[in-house]
Symmetry: C2
Subunit: 428 residues, 2 copies
């Protein structure tokens, strides 16, 4: 397997890394694709796993299967611990991998703005394990509420707080509202649709801050229509096992979900590069790490200026950057240059519950059911793998028609002692 072909190492098999790998399919290079998970994950639908509408395997596929027909690629399941830029090596748990070109597409994790102790009580949503942990938390709270006789505790058990009013928070709040108000109420004896309460809190003055104001207003009306209580201008000041505090208001809850902030993976620290406050490596319009022409940083890991400020951390940005980095490498091999990266924006979209969405196409704004249909088609279309597309398409249609949440499984051993403490935590 030794060869004199240039070695391209891609770290991260998300949207950006995978786009880069695919663009290099026919190039005369040897590609090594490293990820700490064995699967590519369609993160935009993760909230559907967290609310039991889809199964993990519906929105994730083994990386090896996705690139199996690409002869020049090697997939490595390992955790990267650093980059030796002098030796041009990526450091793994076991050994090192040489590179001539390096593409860092390591994504982002939640950021609790320095309050890491909040993570225990308000899990975020970035991996499959995150999603099944949130699912477990939500479903266990409903089970506990069904058996609880004390009205104050019962009320707290049936209160769900989503922190952060961006697309993930809006989607999550809408989906929990539908789950709690509608999908499961028929299955419980003491929980009726009016018992449960979903609160969406945000520190800013409107939901979907990255969208135009009219779509923010439309999204707010839509989530409120689903029974979600929206609290704006309410930065969270404390999160504990049994409450969320925003300013003077204390919301009693055992189920908080974090959708408020992300921080880039430590790629910046690996390179010793300049980063912004969110930990993103500041790259120019060639997407190269400062001072390293052979290293690209893309997707959520990079801060790249667009015409209206930094490009957002969304899949289309990552995909276009992955393709661009691969094209630059291919061009460089034949001595050509490539024009600077320019992001083509097709639109922003967020879905609200089972049949509403808002889409920002720039001058055209679409809301309501038509937007939901467009959202569904786009998401199913962009899923990797025909089987997943088929399965998710069917599941979305099925859930739409029946309100069912077929994946309502509480996994992890149930440590059924009295009280609320341990059983409401995610599985260890």
């Amino acid at each position: 397997m030794t060869s004199a072909r240039p070695k391209v190492v891609i770290v991260g098999a998300g949207f950006g890394g995978l786009a880069a790998a695919r663009t290099l399919a026919k190039a005369p290079v040897d590609v090594t694709l490293i990820d700490k998970h064995n699967h590519h994950l369609f993160q935009p639908l993760l909230y559907q796993v967290a609310t039991a509408a889809l199964s993990p395997a519906d929105i994730a596929g083994p990386i090896r299967a996705i690139v199996k027909d690409q002869a020049n690629i090697r997939v490595v399941l390992d955790r990267v611990s650093g980059v030796d830029v002098a030796a041009k090596q990526v450091k793994l748990g076991a050994g090192r991998v040489d590179y001539d070109w390096l593409i860092l597409a390591t994504g982002a994790r939640h950021s609790y703005f320095g309050r890491d102790e909040w993570a225990e009580h308000a899990p975020g949503l970035k991996t499959i394990d995150d999603a099944t942990a949130v699912r477990r938390k939500v479903l266990l709270a409903l089970e506990r509420a069904e058996a609880e006789t004390d009205p104050v505790r019962r009320r707290a058990l049936l209160t769900f707080v989503v922190i952060g009013g961006g697309p993930t928070g809006v989607e999550m709040a809408g989906a929990i509202a539908e789950l709690a108000h509608r999908s499961v109420s028929r299955d419980f004896r003491t929980i009726t649709p009016h018992c449960s309460r979903v609160v969406l809190v945000d520190g800013g003055p409107r939901l979907l801050a990255g969208f135009p104001p009219d779509l923010s207003a439309s999204a707010q009306r839509a989530v409120e229509g689903l029974g979600v209580e929206v609290r704006l201008n309410s930065p969270v000041t404390a999160i504990a096992q049994d409450h969320v505090q925003t300013g003077d208001a204390r919301i009693a809850t055992f189920t908080a979900v974090w959708a408020a902030g992300v921080a880039a993976s430590p790629a910046g620290a690996w390179l010793g590069a300049a980063c912004d406050r969110a930990g993103r490596v500041e790259v120019g319009d060639d997407l190269r790490a400062p001072g390293h022409a052979e290293i690209f940083v893309i997707g959520d890991t990079a801060r790249c200026e667009g015409p209206n400020g930094a490009l957002p951390g969304i899949a289309p940005v990552a995909k276009q950057q992955g393709r661009y980095a691969a094209q630059v490498i291919v061009a460089a091999l034949s001595g050509r240059a490539v024009r600077p990266f320019r992001y083509r924006h097709y639109g922003n979209l967020a879905t609200i519950g089972r049949k509403r969405a808002v889409i920002d196409f720039g001058r055209l704004h679409v809301t309501g059911f038509a937007a939901w249909v467009l959202w569904s088609v786009a998401h199913v279309f962009f899923l990797v793998g025909f089987r997943n597309r088929f399965s998710v398409g069917l599941s979305l249609l099925w859930n739409y028609l029946t309100f069912a949440r077929h994946a309502r499984l509480i996994t992890g051993e149930f440590s059924g002692e009295a009280g609320l403490g341990p059983p409401l935590q995610p599985a260890q």
Copy 2:
């Protein structure tokens, strides 16, 4: 919710408990159905989850959703810690539940014949968490093998040992063989179909000891046709992280799966009743616990004599016993008696790989592809819930046509340190 109606408590929502609950749907009783999981699990297809062909939600459904149209039932998610037969109460983690009639359908767990330290290295297959742990173990071994350069370790990583030649062991060995030999070999660069080795060991002289000898021989030919190495008369004497010992033979492996023995849940201890060696409560042909006319013990928890010795621990036995116990209760309420329980045997079946099975209909023995089709239809038919039937039917067909294993997800955090130790263990 207080009433003077008799209280029936059912512990366990497996095949037996659910059959009892459904039979009581129209009866003038109040039913409490207690389970430590929130879902009913179709255990016969659990090996398909362990080998990544199906998702957990395909073969499990929320208990509440299954019985939601039954007005006289209350579902409780809790772990039973004992029975107070004098006070007629079931003890839960939080509180107690009164009963007039009690049906214990608590199933079985693996038994390591007193060698509980083997559990760590050779997980069994009874719950969804068991199945995803085995899936993780098998898939991580393949990932490790792909990167391993030492040929001896590599060989051990690609050796899979299934312990126990009953239906579960045969099904598991066939499915692992197809996964390792065929489904994934295209996805790896250094693993070819001939690299991996699946060994099925049993202490007895033939596979499927509960079946007629000609079907045992047929099953053995079929698994051997899939590349499985069958070792009979080989009782296991030691299991460690890196090997399985049978008599003088030491098989180097990092992936052993236990399908050799089960022990009943501790229901016998709760009652202080006489149990057989496998921990099953010895019941008569009225399925009542000795000395307690108001307590029934059914399914894998009971030892009930049939015409050819004790009835086997299979779904049809549990279902018929659950229905019978419910009928006895209904009859007793109107002062009627019921004839003794008689098990109606329809057939035994086991599947081998993607398109073979053996079925024992008594005088009629069916093998090969026809048996596989019958097996598929029967299993899809008996799944609870139309959505699951539809989804599993499609998945089985899809997998049959494509050899795909779409649910190949390694979940749980990857602790990618060097070496084989921790990463090959199931998620903590």
